[in-house]
């Protein structure tokens, strides 16, 4: 398997002064290190405030890390296209992440305009392709965010991420705000895209059921550190750390109850 991403000793320190004389409150993330191979899905789980969202933002480049490196390893055989961004992010609430004053078309158009050297015709062509890829219609070009349902907004967010031909998508709780049936649709869409495009997918989730279903590897975070990492089935079957045990057990206690009923 080809390695596409190498994260090494990534760390970020955030200190906030709370009072004039009190010591500043600091949150230290990392150091985090992990590798990712092509087409792999990595899930990040952990309690609230463990630094999961921060990790996602640092990975996507929204926040500059204090130290460490994120190396994206390009495939030497294939030419990197001029308009490609290797890592793109999907935000948690796709409904509020899209500018309500712009139609989906202009959102996508601006993304291309600001990041690539494509001309107008090529941009339109690219937008058309991307909309089709995520299962939207050509007409959605003219839609504003409030005209779309939850599922369509999630697709729109995916389209915005995919339009720059990323190799890796980082998603912060992409399934949490979705209803069950839309959630299944999104999971299917992501699985399909991953299969077709060989995307790497890093996502944060509370839902251990979905983590088990779609992820290859899982990182467990607590207080800014990765406390446990490994293949999903191994970690879930035999968690080593206390926190992981708690997370896994509480999930499976719910599942067991269901199993006892059926």
């Amino acid at each position: 398997m080809t390695k596409i991403l190498c994260v090494k000793d990534l760390s970020y320190t955030n200190s906030r002064k709370t009072g004039l004389f009190s010591a500043p409150r600091t949150f230290v993330l990392g150091p985090i290190s992990f590798d990712m191979v092509k087409g792999e899905t990595i899930a990040i789980i952990g309690n609230n405030g463990a630094g999961k969202s921060l990790t996602a933002k640092v990975l996507a480049g929204a926040i500059r890390p204090s130290s460490g490196s994120i190396t994206f390893i390009t495939d030497e055989t294939s030419q990197q296209s001029s308009h490609s961004h290797p890592i793109r992010m999907i935000l948690q609430h796709s409904s509020s992440a899209m500018n309500p004053a712009l139609s989906l078309g202009s959102v996508l158009h601006n993304t291309l305009k600001l990041n690539t050297r494509l001309d107008e015709a090529q941009r339109q062509e690219k937008i058309k392709e991307t909309l089709k890829l995520v299962g939207l219609l050509r007409d959605h070009y003219y839609y504003y965010s409030h005209m779309m349902s939850d599922g369509q907004q999630q697709r729109a967010a995916l389209a915005r991420a995919l339009i720059l031909d990323p190799k890796i998508i980082v998603a912060d709780e992409p399934f949490a705000a979705l209803d069950p049936s839309v959630r299944s649709q999104t999971v299917n869409l992501i699985l399909k895209l991953q299969h077709e495009l060989g995307l790497g997918f890093v996502f944060i989730s509370h839902n251990i059921g979905i983590v088990r279903h779609i992820s290859d590897r899982v990182l467990v975070m607590d207080k800014g550190q990765i406390i446990e990492a490994g293949r999903t089935e191994e970690v879930l079957a035999d968690p080593k750390e206390v926190l992981t045990q708690k997370l896994v057990q509480s999930h499976f206690s719910l599942v067991e109850r269901h199993a006892s009923l059926v």
Binding site: N48, E173, H206, I208, H213, E233, S253, H258
Partner: protein, 363 residues
């Protein structure tokens, strides 16, 4: 007798030119000491049901119901004061998104003390009364499993983690020692450890205090853990209701099946990374409700007949509203509880030949 009895609750919304039925004939009962789950996606009207019960709907929404009673008293015929009295003391609601339903400018201790009814404070002098209020508030927080009561009582809502604010909302709801607790989407967006804690708390309250709980959610994993009975709503219509066990084992409505299928943890045989079964499309908005069974356009088994609203049928306490239920009883074998079975058109149970089916739907 049922504590809360709702029959054919319909909610009309007068729009320009047409009247929309935001809820259509929602029927369920909540027995003493029962935990009932109201399941539905967002837009299915589950929050509207809650609001109709507590009377928090805007005035131009017309509520009609054959029965909407609490302990035999008709809630719709009550005047404002009487109804308010019941809401204050007997039925408590934990609203969606606790952090936004708390007052952001008031410390939590004060908010909790405010929710304690005056009757509970028995002391005479104001300093004694203040002290007693504080004691009751502390007791409430302990009851819901919050140990650092001083810390949280001195903080503002924005400082709270989601699980603590959820627990505080439950504590405030319990302050008046209600008979019914309505928990509206209490486990949304929680990680599994916190979720288990909140569920355990609700279950404990149900067992120790015989508290009836209406658990409104779409988190099926949580629901199967605590609920006794389930009512599934889709787009304002009740599609299926019954005991948790029979619903899980034999969902009769395609929508219920789709909901259950959407939880990967329920299927132990599911291969990882295999596509999940999902209904296509999304829940329609109120302006574009389809005629008849509202699942129609998304339903895999939809046929011509589905433009009429199916009547509610019942098999051994398991109610469903579908023309073509799944897990069909054998054709010709008539169910004693349902005299409509078999005699209308026996062909409808035999869905192997679609051409035949079309014919039968015509007449």
């Amino acid at each position: 007798m049922a504590l809360l009895d709702i029959k054919n609750l319909t909610l009309y919304l007068d729009g320009p030119g047409e009247t929309i039925k935001a809820l259509e004939k929602v029927t369920f009962t909540l027995q003493e000491g029962e935990i009932k789950a109201l399941v539905g996606e967002s837009g299915s009207g589950k929050t509207l049901v809650v609001k109709a019960i507590i009377g928090a709907l805007p005035e131009h929404w017309r509520v009609k119901a054959d029965r909407l009673t609490y302990k035999g008293q008709d809630l719709l015929k009550m005047n404002y004061e009487q109804r308010r009295q019941i809401m204050r003391r007997e039925i408590a609601v934990v609203f969606q998104e606790p952090t936004s339903s708390l007052d952001p400018s008031v410390k939590l201790g004060e908010q909790i003390q405010e929710s304690i009814p005056d009757e509970f404070v028995t002391k005479k002098w104001f300093w004694e009364r203040n002290k007693q209020r504080k004691e009751i508030a502390t007791g409430l927080l302990h009851k819901v499993g919050i140990r650092e009561h001083d810390r949280w009582m001195n903080s503002y809502p924005y400082q709270l983690p989601a699980d603590v604010s959820q627990k505080i909302m439950i504590a405030m709801a319990l302050a008046s020692e209600p008979r019914i607790l309505i928990a509206d989407d209490s486990t949304r967006g929680m990680e599994s450890t916190t979720k288990t804690q909140v569920l355990k708390l609700l279950l404990k309250l149900n067992k120790t205090k015989n508290l009836s709980i209406l658990f409104v959610s779409h988190d099926l994993l949580a629901i199967t853990t605590i609920a006794d009975t389930i009512t599934v709503l889709y787009c304002g219509q009740t599609v299926e209701s019954g005991k948790v066990k029979s619903l899980l084992k034999r969902p009769l409505h395609p929508y219920t099946k789709a909901l259950l299928d959407s939880v990967p943890s329920f299927q132990s045989a599911l291969k990882t990374k295999s596509p999940l079964t999902a209904l296509s499309g999304t829940i329609p908005s109120l302006q574009h409700l389809p005629a008849g069974c509202r699942l129609g356009p998304r339903c895999p088994n939809a046929r011509k007949k589905c433009v009429q609203v199916p009547i509610m049928r019942s098999i051994q306490g398991h109610n469903y509203s579908c023309h073509y239920p799944l897990h069909l009883p054998k054709a010709g074998k008539k169910d004693p509880t349902d005299d409509k079975f078999g005699e209308q058109d026996p062909i409808k149970f035999n869905l192997i030949n679609p051409a035949l089916e079309e014919d039968s739907a015509d007449d």
